[in-house]
Subunit: 255 residues, 2 copies
C-alpha cells in the first residue's frame, strides 16, 4: 500500500485521482459539518462548488426536503438555511433532509476527487473510521487536504498526519509513504499533545475566532466524537458504514 | 515581517510574487549546484526552463565563455557540458564562465519568482547567508520550495524550516509566520538531528541514489559549507554578497 498526500487540492489534475481511493480532509469545517449532519440523520449531502449551482439544484424542493448549507469566507451564504458551523447541523434541523452544501475549500477538494473509486471524508472527529476504512480497502490511496484558499492549512495537515501515524503504528505489511505523507506524520507528532491549541493557533482557526465562530474550534478538534464515515458515492455524500457507537446515544462528546 | 511559504511552486501565480522578496529552495540539487558554481568563480548563471531555450541563448559563445548545465529526471541533457551534480561545478571547469542552467524543478521555481523584487537562492549549504539576507532586507518575504515534479519535497521543506527556525530564535520584533512556515519549522525540529539521513530517505534522495548520484546527497546536506548568496538579478543569477571566506574580487555590494 502506498500513501500519497497533497497539502492543497489546487494543483491536482482530477484525472490523476481517477479510480483511486481518496480521503478528503477539511477539519475547519466541511468534514466536521458533513460528519455531524450525517450522524444526526441527514439523508444525504450534495456537494457543489458554486452558490448558483446550489440554488439551481435545490429547486422546488428547497426548504421542505432540501436545505442549503455552506459558507463563503466562513460566513453563511444569503438564501441558505445553514452556515458551516458543525453544531448547526442538529437532528432537529436536518433529520431526513438532503443538504446541498457549498464551502470555499471542501467542495473544491471533493470536486477534484470526483473520478476516484472511493472517496471518504475525514477529520479529527471521525479519524478512527477513516483509519479503518483505508485498512479495509487495503490499496494505494491519496489524502487530499482541502487547505485554505489554495494555501497549506495546518489543521488539515496535522489531521492527515494522525491518519499516517495510526497506519505507521498499525504495523501493516508493505506500506510506503510519500514525502508529504511522512512530513504530515512528523507534524502530527509535533502537535498531538494539544490539538485544540494547534487548531486555535492555525490561520483559519484565528480567522474563525475573529468572525465570532470560535466555538467551532473545539467541536472540530474533538477526536472520534462523531463516529461516522461520510463517503462520496456518485455525486452524493452518504454514510456507507458506521460503528456500533453510532446508534445508542447519538450525542457527540466534545473533548 | 510576515513569512509566507509554498511547498511547491506550481500553484503560484507569478504576479502574486511581484515586488516581493523571495527565497527559492531546491536542495537536491539546483540551489547547491548554483551556489557551488558561483563560489568557484562562475561569472553568472542564466536559468531557463527549457532545453531549447538553453541551446538558443548559448549560441555561438557555447563552449568558450558559455557552458550549458542542468538535468532532466536527474540526468545530464544531451549537448550539455555539465549535469546537476554540485561537485561538477569545480573552479577548473567553470571559473569566469557563464552557465545556461536548466533543471526540472529549480528553473520553474525561479521563473515563478521573476517579477519579485529580490530573489535569493538557498539550501543547507548557504543557510546562514539566507538568514542574514532576509534579516537585512527586513520585509515580508516568501519561501518558494522547488518541490519534486509538482509534489512536496521533504528536503526543501526541512531546509525552509531551518530558515524559519533560525528567524524564530533570532527574537526579532513582530515576525509572523504562515501555517506553512510554522509547519516547516516543526519539520526542521523533527529532522534537525540528522539532516543527511533525512535527505537520504527523501523520495528524491532515493531516486538520485538509484541513478548513481548518491555522492551528491552528502554534498547537498552540508550546512554552511558554501558561504555565498546567489541572487537573481534581472534574468541572471550572480553573487551580490558573500562572506569573508570568499575571495576579495567577489566582494559584494549590498543593496
Amino acid at each position: 500500500m502506498r500513501v500519497e498526500l497533497h497539502f492543497t487540492p489546487h494543483q491536482i489534475d482530477e484525472l490523476a485521482l481517477r479510480d483511486r481511493t481518496v480521503v478528503v480532509i477539511d477539519v475547519l469545517r466541511a468534514s466536521t459539518s458533513i460528519a455531524n449532519a450525517l450522524f444526526n440523520g441527514a439523508k444525504e449531502i450534495i456537494p457543489v462548488t458554486s452558490v448558483e449551482r446550489a440554488v439551481k439544484i435545490s429547486g422546488n424542493l428547497f426548504g421542505d426536503h432540501v436545505l442549503r448549507g455552506g459558507e463563503r469566507n466562513g460566513k453563511m451564504i444569503e438564501g441558505f438555511n445553514l452556515g458551516n458551523s458543525p453544531a448547526e447541523y442538529s437532528e432537529e434541523k436536518i433529520k431526513g433532509k438532503a443538504i446541498i452544501f457549498s464551502s470555499t475549500n471542501g467542495s473544491l477538494a471533493l470536486e477534484k476527487a470526483r473520478f476516484a473509486r472511493n472517496v471518504a471524508i475525514g477529520g479529527f472527529v471521525n479519524i478512527s473510521q477513516v483509519v479503518a476504512f483505508v485498512q479495509e480497502v487495503n490499496q494505494d490511496f491519496t489524502v487530499l487536504c482541502a487547505g485554505n484558499n489554495g494555501m497549506f492549512s495546518l489543521e488539515d495537515s496535522v489531521c492527515a498526519g494522525m491518519l499516517v501515524q495510526r497506519l505507521s503504528e498499525a504495523d501493516l505489511d508493505d506500506v510506503a509513504f510519500s514525502d508529504a505523507a511522512i512530513a504530515s506524520g512528523m507534524l502530527y507528532k509535533g502537535y498531538s499533545r494539544n490539538l485544540l491549541k494547534m487548531v486555535k493557533n492555525s490561520e483559519h482557526g484565528k480567522y474563525l475566532t475573529g468572525i465570532g465562530q470560535a466555538d467551532d474550534l473545539a467541536f472540530c478538534a474533538g477526536v472520534d466524537t462523531i463516529p461516522v464515515l461520510p463517503q462520496l458515492i456518485g455525486s452524493v455524500i452518504r454514510v456507507k458504514r458506521d460503528t456500533e457507537k453510532a446508534e445508542p446515544s447519538k450525542t457527540p462528546v466534545i473533548s
